[in-house]
Symmetry: C2
Subunit: 178 residues, 2 copies
DNA sequence: AGCATCATGTAAGTAGTTACATGATTAA
DNA sequence: TTAATCATGTAACTACTTACATGATGCT
């Protein structure tokens, strides 16, 4: 039950249309909670029906016409409730680690190329995060909001750093396998 | 489409019944691909229908009776194919980071306790992984299979190390917020 | 006989994915 | 006027989750 709350957060940061949100879920918010436009439109419908958001009054609210939403007080309250509520962490699922474990049984043929490809992807993502850090978090900015958002970005940077290091190590191990 | 392959891997490591698998998915394999018994039984049915596994011949294959499975050649081939095939990494979803970002908008009330709880959980998991490493990977063992499985465990250890460090840092930041 | 636990399932609901549909706007 | 793109959706399917059902086995 996190997608509606991801959308509420995004809309509180800035009222948006479905397509705006879709784009923001391709970067920013989407870095740790991805969503497709189909999911987003469906969820916007539900949030509106629940009275958590409302469409900004516009001329023609028809198909093909842009429709922006803003969060209502009930939506903000629900987001605050959810943020503070105890939640069990979801168990992870990582297909690459699974494939490595499978490779221990059926052989490593073809896997090395995948490791190299993943390394490249993670290095790119790391570079992107570092750009964002340089651009959005210069040393002088220091509000509470900035600190929290910077903390989230640091998690992303450190995670990508871990993956690049681990994949580099894994590739070196592959070269030393019989 | 990873669960069937997780099950094939587990069954190749050791033929098992549904409940055996469920237990193994609560540790080991489940550390990076979790599954409930309901998922497992359903998937065992499909894998059997597809000719990838078969039930070991037993007396009474009835409800309440233990039923063990082994992997057939077609199942091993499918696992090898899947292991080597290019796959796009799934975008991550992390509710805790999402909550932190929400907190930047609606306030951090109640979140600190959650961070402390998560830190405790990750520290425990890290301890567990280190026990496994000590027990299952003594320096003298060095087959290709061992190396690959050790690599997977190292990823787990390093990930948990990252989380404990990041959460410690986050808690310190929370204390310095206005 | 009664109860806990082992073991295998069914059913219903929710979330996420993939494929397709449709109208509006803009540029060649 | 056609094509590309913007923008909002519908439909069908797959994966996962939650709750419940049912028989077998062993213990007291």
């Amino acid at each position: 039950m996190s997608l509606p709350h991801a959308i509420l957060t995004a809309l509180l940061e800035r009222p948006s249309s479905g397509l705006d949100l879709t784009r923001r879920f391709d970067r920013s918010i989407g870095y740790f909670w991805s969503a497709t436009h189909q999911q987003i439109y469906r969820e916007l419908g539900r949030l509106e029906a629940d009275g958590h958001i409302r469409a900004l009054p516009a001329e023609v609210p028809a198909r093909g016409q842009k429709k922006s939403y803003e969060v209502l007080p009930a939506g903000r309250a629900e987001l605050a409730r959810w943020t503070a509520a105890p939640q069990e962490p979801k168990p992870h699922r990582d297909a690459l680690l699974l494939r490595l474990r499978a490779a221990a049984v059926v052989g490593t043929d073809g896997l090395k190329g995948e490791l190299a490809r993943y390394l490249d992807l993670h290095e790119r993502q790391l570079g992107e995060y570092r750009e964002i850090e340089k651009r959005d978090f210069p040393p002088e900015r220091d509000s509470a909001e900035d600190r929290l958002r910077h903390l989230v970005l640091r998690a992303g940077i450190d995670l990508e750093t871990f993956w690049t290091q681990w994949l580099t190590h894994a590739l070196a191990e592959f070269d030393r396998l019989p």
